[in-house]
């Protein structure tokens, strides 16, 4: 009996893994096999001598891109969620209106402008793009953490309190699990936007997947632009579908009896 149930569940879960796997595979294939596709790019750009970007290997560029986005994501998740938790506690509730306003205001800062303002302070290189990504990615996370924690019903918290839970226990065992889907959605938005925005770092001397695009625009070589754009789009789709998978898992865990 339990075997049959398990089989049904396994069959249901199989398609969930399909899209993330497809995108990750495509990403790996495109990164490793980019030089092999040279004839194809020759057909796109017949006049150019060089058709495959070769100043750095694509997996190196991909690694740097992931590193930049990853560092920014870790910092923003830690800071954003902690800030969201802090201002929804009673001790920090004085800061709640300001932080809420700031979270909605922050979306109006264009990433290019943030990047341009970070360069005079931090100089050229990888640091300004990480800072710009952190500033830009922080606000969706703070906003969603606030929305998620405020969306937990007061009755549930009261019940937890009446059961003898301490405020820390209420936060960890009641509020955060209930707010997790909304917080995760914020993290997904933040990371997906940042993968695309990180390409701008190539304009301030940070080497990543934006490099082929900039080189292609400057030299008028469409093949370079295509290679950079394809890899970034595949990366964004892969990460996005992984987040979707995570959200589904979370959802099924929360709604399980």
């Amino acid at each position: 009996m339990s075997n049959a149930l398990g089989a049904v569940q396994a069959r249901k879960q199989a398609p969930q893994w399909r899209w993330p796997l497809v995108w990750v595979m495509l990403l790996v294939v495109s990164v490793v096999g980019m030089p092999a596709a040279e004839p194809l790019f020759h057909w796109i750009e017949p006049d150019a001598r060089q058709v495959v970007y070769d100043r750095a290997d694509f997996y190196v560029l991909l690694g740097r891109h992931l590193l930049v986005v990853g560092i920014a994501a870790i910092v923003t998740i830690v800071v954003g969620v902690l800030a969201g938790i802090a201002v929804t506690r009673q001790r920090g509730s004085d800061f709640l209106p300001l932080v809420g306003q700031l979270a909605s205001l922050g979306q109006t800062f264009p990433p290019v402008a943030v990047l341009a303002l970070a360069v005079p302070v931090l100089g050229f290189g990888t640091l300004p793009i990480i800072v710009a990504l952190m500033l830009y990615g922080l606000l969706p996370i703070v906003r969603n953490t606030l929305a998620g924690l405020q969306g937990v019903e007061g009755d549930i918290k009261t019940a937890a309190h009446a059961m003898g839970m301490t405020p820390t226990q209420i936060l960890r065992q009641v509020e955060l699990p209930l707010a997790a889907p909304v917080i995760l959605a914020g993290i997904r938005t933040s990371v997906t936007i940042n993968i695309a925005t990180a390409a701008l770092g190539a304009t301030v001397g940070a080497s990543n997947l934006g490099d082929p695009i900039i080189a292609g625009i400057v030299n008028g070589n469409m093949a370079y632009v295509l290679q950079g754009a394809l890899t970034i789009a595949l990366l964004a789709l892969a990460v996005d579908s992984l987040f979707e998978l995570l959200q589904r898992k979370l959802h099924s865990r929360l709604s399980a009896p």
Binding site: Q90, L102, A196, A229, I232
Partner: protein
């Protein structure tokens, strides 16, 4: 009363009064920044990076004392806030903002050697931090006093006017002003181009978005496919989309003379506009669709009961009720387009991004600021004014 209300509230109390902790800590941050960081920097010419000066050297004793007193006042008044004290706080904050360019004038007399005509004054970290925190103070006071956005915006416009006057009349040595004076004609053209690109992109995406949303409401199968395509478009980095449009458009322009006559070319405005519209469509269509769908069926039923025809129901009931959410979409789209147009400068579309990328290329940071600051200001102004419009159009009017 719930149990949580009965729990002891651990708040900071002082002699029974209830201090505004936010403003007090903001005031402390400003004091620390004012005394610890460089207030201004002075460079003998455009290329050399400047040397920083603290508050005492830049403003002299009287100016430093005045600024410190005002900053302390904000903290002290916020210890026991009342309605009247909040109004006094607004005055203090606005006074500080108005005094900021005056301080720069003072330091240009104190620091700049008249023998060096190329010498230029840059704004130091303390200036930016204090300005940013003052804006936060203003937001906090607005929230505490429950003011609408109108009065703070008006005050900020006044402050901006004072800054503009000071910059135009007395601040020739400020690096930003020097960069502007060197290319004021170019700057105005760039702003014009920027606004034109954003205007065309947003207005066409409003029309296209409305059409697409109405088609989606009619043909449900279209909805899934269209959203999938638009979602996919958003994952392509803006930089790449701009680049990818270069080749096909250049090919079209060289092979179809009619299109070339229309101004289609691989570089410049056309690819920029296509990419901008493509990006603008997703937020626009999503909000338009939700706005039209969210109108309560009861209201529409009532309109039907009153004998309204389908067209009347759409134009006189559904659309007006959907307008605030629709405007929210226009706001998001416009703010996003203002930022993306800056990237379009890379493919020769002009606009304020030109200064950013030229400045980055020449390592001339003041030129980067000349491009970035107006973009930021533009985004904030559009955000505030469209937000206020949406608030005013909400059924029942502004609250």
């Amino acid at each position: 009363m719930s149990l949580l209300d009965a729990m002891p509230t651990p708040r900071i109390r002082w002699k029974g009064r209830h201090p505004n902790v936010v403003l007090v800590s903001l005031s402390l941050i400003m004091l620390v920044a004012f005394w610890a960081f460089d207030v201004v920097s002075m460079a003998p010419n455009r290329i050399v990076s400047g040397t920083g000066y603290g508050a005492l050297e830049a403003f002299g004793w009287p100016g430093t004392l005045l600024a410190t007193l005002l900053l302390v006042t904000i903290g002290v008044v916020a210890w026991q806030p009342s309605h009247r004290h909040y109004r006094a706080l607004i005055v203090a904050v606005v006074l500080l903002m108005v005094l900021m360019p005056v301080g720069l004038i003072a330091s240009s007399y104190l620091l700049i050697d008249p023998e060096l005509p190329q010498a230029r004054l840059g704004l130091g970290a303390a200036y930016w931090v204090v300005l940013f925190v003052l804006l936060l103070c203003l937001i906090e006071i607005r929230l505490r006093l429950n003011l609408t956005r109108f009065w703070p915006t008006l005050l900020l416009c006044g402050v901006a006017l004072v800054w503009w006057l000071c910059a135009a009349l007395w601040l020739d040595s400020l690096a930003l002003v020097q960069e502007y004076n060197a290319r004021n004609q170019l700057f105005l053209t760039a702003i014009g181009q920027h606004l034109r690109l954003v205007g065309i992109a947003v207005s066409s995406s409003v029309v296209l978005g409305l059409l697409l949303a109405m088609l989606m409401r009619r043909y449900a199968r279209l909805q899934k496919g269209a959203f999938a395509v638009l979602n996919f478009l958003q994952t392509i980095p803006s930089l790449a989309l701009f680049g990818l449009l270069l080749a096909p458009l250049a090919w079209l322009a060289s092979n179809v003379p009619f299109l070339a006559q229309l101004g289609v070319s691989g570089i410049g405005t056309t690819p920029a506009l296509i990419a901008l519209i493509a990006y603008s469509l997703l937020p626009m269509v999503r909000n338009t669709y939700t706005a039209l769908e969210e109108v309560s069926p009861d209201t529409l039923e009532a309109a039907k009961g009153m004998g309204m025809r389908a067209g009347q129901r759409f134009w006189q009931v559904r659309l007006p009720l959907a307008l605030p959410v629709l405007l929210e979409g226009v706001r998001i789209t416009t703010v996003q387009a203002i930022g993306l147009t800056a990237v379009a400068a890379l493919i020769g579309a002009g606009g304020l991004g030109t200064f950013i990328f030229q400045g980055l290329g020449q390592a001339a940071m003041d030129m980067v600021l000349l491009g970035a600051l107006p973009i930021l200001a533009l985004a904030l102004v559009v955000d505030a004014s469209l937000g206020a419009l949406a608030e005013a159009l909400r059924p029942g009017g502004a609250q």
